[in-house]
Amino acid sequence: MNERLLEIDVPGAALESSSLVVAAGEVVALLGANGSGKSTLLRSIMGLYPARGAVRLAGEEIGALSPAGRARRGIGYVPEGRRLFPGMNVRDTLLVGAHGSAAAAGPRLRTVLELFPMLEKRLETPAWQLSGGQQQMLAIGRALMSEPRLLLLDEPSLGLAPVVVDELMLRLRGIAAQGTAVLLAEQSVARTLEIADRVYALAMGRVVAEGTPAAVHASGVLERAFLGADVVTPIRNSSRAEEQP
């Protein structure tokens, strides 16, 4: 199993190494206020926004690859705003997400429909006729269909009923347990802290803290980051601080 499935250089003097790392089997959360740079970071991993430095997937430099090339290397992405094809029905949208591996598509489709039973009743419904929350489920389901090595989710809980969010968060843990690396940007701090292995806190496009949810929460940096204070004092690598006796 790869210890450093994803590595991306990020600005942030506070970190010992200036890169954000996600290991296989890990759920990592990006937390921060609106405009703190979470979406931009996800977009630059996907190649939709120029990265400031190197981006490595399983040791391979992918900075020169197109978004499509990165998707083929095993990155799944749930963008902000869902980005569905309005006229395409639920079944086709999910099958397209499997990237053409027809043999695998059947069982994966079943897995996704198990996660979102609501979509099963709507298989023939075009995306535009779905409610906002159902569209969000479809966007997440489409990303899962490729069984990515690395799954990027931009605010996956937007528009979902609380009970569905709980289920989704549990499933993300389950997906990670099978070896997928999960990196998600979230606004709902409490829920995210519950399921994440590690957290990066962002403010003004920079990483201001990194560590276990407990350590980052205890450091108080989240309150400052979310209140949008103009000057955020960088915190020394908080996961290390925790390890010290």
Binding site: A33, Q129, Q134, G159, A161, P162, F226, L227, G228
Partner: protein, 597 residues
Amino acid sequence: MSSAALAPTLRGLGDRAPWVLAALCLAAYAATASPYGLRVLALAGAQVVLVLGYQFIFGHAGALSLAQGAFFGIGAYVTAILGGRYGLGFLASFPVSILAPSLLAAAIAAPVLRLATHYFALATLGLAQVASLAAVNGGAFTGGALGITGVPGIVFFGWAVPRGLGLVAAVWLVVAAASWLSVHLTRGLTGRAYAVLRGNPLAASAIGLSEQRLRLAAFLLSAGYAGAAGALHAHILGVVSSESMAFSVMVACLAMTVIGGSTRLAGAFIGALLLTYLPEWLRSLEGYSLLAFGAALLAAIVAAPTGIAGALAKAVAALGRTERPILPTPAELPVPQGPSGLSLLVVRGLAKRFGGIEALKGLDLTIDRGEILGVIGPNGSGKTTLANLVTGFAPTGGGTVILEGRNITALGASEIARAGVGRSFQNPALPPELTVLEIVTLARASLEDDLGFRAALAGRDRSDRRERHEAEAMYFLRSLGADGYAHALCASLPYRAAWRVEIARILALEPKLVILDEPASGLTEAEQGELARTLRRLARLGLGLLVIEHNMPFLLPVADRILVLDEGRAIASGKPEEVRQNPAVISAYLGRKVGLA
């Protein structure tokens, strides 16, 4: 005249200087031109009028009409038949040439304007084909394939305007009148209202503007202008045939509009003159002239994607010092009057069906003044459908919606917005190319019926009225803490500011009921707290609020009452704490954590 009053006058002269200069150049050229040159100049004038008209539907309303060439041809034929065959003078034939295509446009508008962009293009193309076939097969009436010859020049009360310089002067007088009208109609707030329609039609409806009416007005004007241009064309050439409404006329008009600029007055002149004269200049290249013509057009489009006029305006703006925009002083507006007797909103038996899915199955609800009703429910339970039906953004499939005793069930979205129901959308409905101040100002102007071509003709969308609307808009922006964003473009608005602008836009229409669809989504907890305080403040002012939300930590403390929907039905309703402990609600929606928290 005081120096304060003198300054705007001088600035006005400064704005006009390029026009005065251009007119002088044109006059100088006309005075020295050959008879052939005069003829080309007159024809170019007719093209300017054609393009000015096309700017209404294509540039302002943003709809690709392919009937402009046909309207031009109809205008030409009307003039040829009335003038050539019945000997009517200009004063009789010209108005009929304008009226005939406008009437045709009005007749086909009802079905055609409802169509989405590319279908609208195809429908208007069909109309153009029919018109062209009718001209060729019209027998003696249209002269068949040969057309009508011997169309007289412009004749006033029996006095024929001499061909040559006289005709050029007459044509360019019409150009001047058409320009004056065009500027008058579009330079005020009405022009910006069309920018809303182009940028975000939902936002247009939300501020009480009827998409249909705006498009219809633009379509009629474009047809009228085309008819006038066709009439001039017939007088100049003396011959009208089916070539006058051939598809090439339409293509040339489209090219002139795109290359010149689709919304600016100068764009019509630049496009029409350039495309009329360029072939003349390139004629010396003989066999290569078409190639050079094509290359020049391509270069113009690549170099100036917003048209040459747009590129020039940008260059002038970059050269000139950028004046720091001054924020209008906020107006003081009275607090809305207190509650009256009737219930604010009463919904009975509201139903909606999408194909096989029943989104709402006969829903009843009431909202009182000063009350915040939270609506929750699983995804797809019908929450947004409820908002769409109450606000007229989708037609109901049964049931009634009564606002303060008035049945608003059958009204359209823009009428309901003006009747006092404001709403937000899951994605903020803000037109990207307008500033924050503009969209809220337009909402104020819409409330007082100061938008549209009729209001523009009466001058109701300019000067002091506009200033008053801006000051009032600032009042609403300031009360939401968004006055700092007044001059920001909606497209560049950070998410944390967008909700403030949305609510300011809603409040500017002085609503009685406000419907918010997932207002807290994407907001941090600090911002959610601010939003909650804002909603409480609105309720204290006597507004009723219907808030759709999944975020329970936000909604439960702020709502007076919660309505729970599941599969298009109300499954529970009551105080937040009752609903939170309702086992059916916990299992269907909340999950154990929120329910028992």
